[in-house]
Structures are given as structure tokens and as C-alpha cells.
Amino acid sequence: MPLRAGYAEAIGHHGELVQGLFEDDDAQLRRALVSLPCRQLRSKVRFIANDSGQVLVLPASREKARRAAQLTLNAFGRLADGGNLAIESNIPLGRGMGSSTADVLASILAVLNWLKIDVASDEIMRLAVNAETACDSTLFRQQAVLFAHRDGMVLEAFRRPLPPIDFISIDTTPGVTVDTLEFAPARYDQLEIETFRPLRSLLRTAIKNGDAAMLGRVATASARINERFLPKPRLTDIETIGDRFGAVGVQVAHSGTVVGLMFDGRDPRASANIARAAKALQRSDFEPTIFRH
């Protein structure tokens, strides 16, 4: 009897290191981002196949994941293939931490796992974008990428993975959720669009050299540009505390509510600095959570 179940996991992220408008190879502008992956945040999906020809999902609210599984079956399965998706995730919802994308990716991968087929990552990305109109770059673990999240396309693959970043997570508006897809895309002005050029080159250089400090500068610059579109209350207070304790920068969820105070994961003083910065944040009425790379 053939195996009737498939299983897969996908990780969430803590917003983006950078997000903006970038030229593709034909010099046309595309929205693109680099997510800050967070391995502690996971969506785990089990797909139990049947011959109903349709897909059901639990929790039932995860409609995009259901759609993604259905699209995957349509593309690679037989007409009669259907099944039940069971999703288990610890990724907070509506904070810009990729909960929906992780569900979608894990669902696609779980179906593919059941089908026992390997599919190229750009194909997976296309399915994900079809299921939820946008996606993130967490699928790319071996190599950092600048990812056109609305096109499901890699704009630039960098030479190495991201250098290790430890960070303190701060939810600037715990009571408020942002619907990533309802949120209107930023309308960058000409100066902002051009500013993404040097950001992109420092991003490339920082990844090539494994330089967390330079990566922090890129993330900080991107966070500041984003303030005009989805401001994070008290961002400068967080930056000031970071400066006191050797943080390399701040990064934000460009379509969410969280801010990350970034530290160089290779710096032996990082642990002590993070502990002291977390205390200082608490004294300033923030609720910090520490994530290690």
C-alpha cells in the first residue's frame, strides 16, 4: 500500500533586512526583499491524501495554504488526488513574520513530499505567489537572495548565506495586526528608489564578506526609508539603546509591526550585550524577546 501522507516544515522570519524597489536585468523596477529568517519559528504541515479530488485544511482559516496544496496537486498530481492538510505553527499572525508564507510553503512541500517529486525552487515560488500573491525568501537557506516577492523570482543570488545575526525582537504595537496583502505597497519617491542602489551594493558586499556590521547599516537604512509608509513607534528609542550596547543595526517588518535589534552572531561579546540591551529595553517599557541565529 502506498504511503498516504506527506510532511514538510517551513520557517518564519523576523521581517526583512531590506525591502524596496530594485532594477532587474532589463533595468525594470521590481519590488524585492531579503527576509531575516528565524529558525525557531516554524510551520509544520502534514498532508493526508485521499481520492476526493479536493483539499481540506485545519485550522480552516488557513485558506491560502489550502489553495497552495490544491494548486500543487493540480500541477503535479492526478485529477482524483485530494487530502487533508493539518497545520501546526508557532509563527505569530499579522506581525509581518511570514506566518502565511510559511504555511503556504510547508503545504506545497508536504504535497510534493507525498507525491515523491523534487521540484525546482522557482517552480515552488511560482506556486506560492499564485496561492497568496506574495512570498518571502525563507526557502533559500544555502545562499542569500534578493527576492522579488510579488513575482516569485530571484533578482540576485548572493555568493554566501547571510552572516549569523542574533537579534532582540520588539513588537512595537502588540495590539495591532497588519494584513500583509491588504497593506498598500509603498509608493517610493525618486530619491528613495535611487537610494536602494547603494543599499543593494552594500548588501552584496556585506554578504560576500560575512560582515554583520555592514549588513546592520543596510537594514537600518531600509528601516528608515520604511518609516514613511509603516512607521514603527519609538524606533529611534530602540536604535539609541542599540547604540549603547553594540548593536549593529535595526531591521523591521516592512509590512508588519516588529523591530529587531541586530547583533553580530560571531562577536563573543554579543551574548552579554544582548542581555544588557534587553534589560534596558524592559526599563523603557518594551517587551523584548531574544532570538539566536
Partner: protein
Amino acid sequence: MSTRALMRKLEDFEGPRLVPLGGNLVGASFFLMKLLPARFMLERAVDQGLLRPGRTICESSSGTFGLALAMLAVQHGYRLLLVSDWALDRHLHRRLVELGAQVAIVDRPAAGGGLQQARLDRLQIYVSDIAGSYWPSQYDNPDNPFSYAKVAEQLIDRLGRVDCLIGPVGSGGSMSGTSRYLRTLFPDLHAIGVDTPGSVLFGQPSGKLNLSGLGGNILPRNVDHRQFDEVHWVTPAEAFHATHELHRKHGLFMGPTSGAAYRVAHWWSLNHPGKTVVVMFPDEGHRYVETVYDQEWLKAAAGWGDRPAESPIAVSSPRSPMTRWSRVLWKRRALDEVLSGSGDGDDTDLAT
């Protein structure tokens, strides 16, 4: 995804070639720097509906911006009308005509603002007479400084962090723009503008200018004074000496504005070892074969026989008479702040 106007056929000519000049000093040597802002301004004008196919571009230029426009116009099917003056190099003039540009020469200075103003006055007439004409207005068009993100991008790609940027100031576009972009990532960047005595750009009383492309008698809106930490004024003869030194020591055949910038950069870099310093060289020396690179012509140039200064003298105000290489710690102030002497704290850096 948007579809936008693209005029990128000459894109490979837009960026600088980077040349190590000893220590941590790097020359950013351009074939023709103005190609970048010219292309950017034209693309934007097309996007905004200001420039339509086959129409006429009108501009005032006695040099490289006109050449850049001419190269782009011939590639993309525009007509070009340039207003220039007697200082236009005759070989460049011929080249512009070969490129199909119509070149109008102004020979009498205006009552205020000299030849530069006379050119602009004439230009106004053409712009209003020619239907559908487009005036890029490099001195005031914000797209000029905006275009320099690409230079910042290239510098970072090659060098990573940049500590100091030095360059000549004419329209203000390259130095104001590049500094601004670099500072979004390196807020401590030290920016040094290089001007010449008699240029009003950084507050000198207006005087006759003998150094083409450096400074001016009209203050362009694109000079963003708050970007500059330091401003130097280099005399023509000092710039000419430095231009020859750049050629003889490093093999770089550049124009005299490059020489002026090199003079300042070499000095600053020697005094700040370990700092990554980039100096901008905007154009090559071909336009100056019969002037700056001609020994007979040089003999007649004021101050050519004098031994050039090794270092600048500090002056307290940009209004001071300047007969030799001078500098003011600008401290990212507005022009009127500097002229009124406000925010002019201790000059501790003068010792360096």
C-alpha cells in the same frame, strides 16, 4: 512591474574606473561623468512626458554636459541645441557639430553673472521659441544629484566602506548627490568640495574664472552646501600643476578640475592614513590639449611660474581674498550660516 523609458546604450561609459593613487587614496576616473546625469535626466523627462520623440533638447553648456547630451541625442533621435561661449574648445565644437548639435555662441557677458548668465538669457529665448523643446537645466534639476546613486553603488561594490569623498564642484550634482547617498550608509562620511577663487558657489565674491568647469558665477540650486564638511579653493595655476602631476605620476590624462581635486585629495589622504578616500575625476584631458597641456599657453597663465603650495592655508571666511590654495571647515552648514559665521566652533581639526 513598470515599463519605463530607458536610454542605456552608453551605460558602460557612465561609471568611473577606480585607480589606486597610493595609500588608501583611490581615483574615480570618468571618461565623461556628465553622461550619467544627462541620461538620467532625459529618461525622467520622457517618463514625465516632458520630452517627446524627435523633439529638441536645449541646454547651456561650454563643455562636457553638452557633449553628453549630444551623444545621447544622436543615439535616441532627439535634436539638440546648445548655447555656448568663446571658451568652447574648437575640437569639442567640431565634435558637437559632427554629432548633429546646433551650437549657438554667446560672445558678450551679461551685466550680472557674466557669460554664464548671457548663455542662460539666450537659452530662454530658444526654449520659448521652439515648440515642444525640453531644457534639462542641469544646475537646478534635482534629477542631476539624484542620478549619482549609481556612482555610490559602484564605489561601495568595489571599496566597501568609504570614509572621505573629494571632488570638484560645478553644478553641484556629483558631490552633493554622491555624498548624500553614501551618508545613508556611512553617516560619518567626510565630504570635501573643491572650488576656485572668484566662484560664488561657496561664498567667494564673484570674479573672472579661468578654470573651465570649476565653480561658477551663478549659484546653482543643486549645490547642497549642507553636505560639505570642508571646502577648498584652488587657483588655476595650482590646478594646472596638479593636473600634470596626475598625468606624470599616475598616467591619468584628465582635465584641470580633476587636477584641482587631486591636489586636495593627495594632501588630505596623507594626513589621514588608514582612511579610505575617493577623489572624483570628472573628465579626460582631450579638451585641454591646446591649453592646460600646452607649455606655451601655460607660460601666459597667471601664477604658473610660482612654486605650487604644499598645503592649504586656513581662512576664517569664504569671503576672504584668496591668492593661493585655501580652505574653510564648512561643517555641513548652509551658505548663509557660514557667511554669518554661525555654528563656527573651534577649529581643532586645523592642526591635522
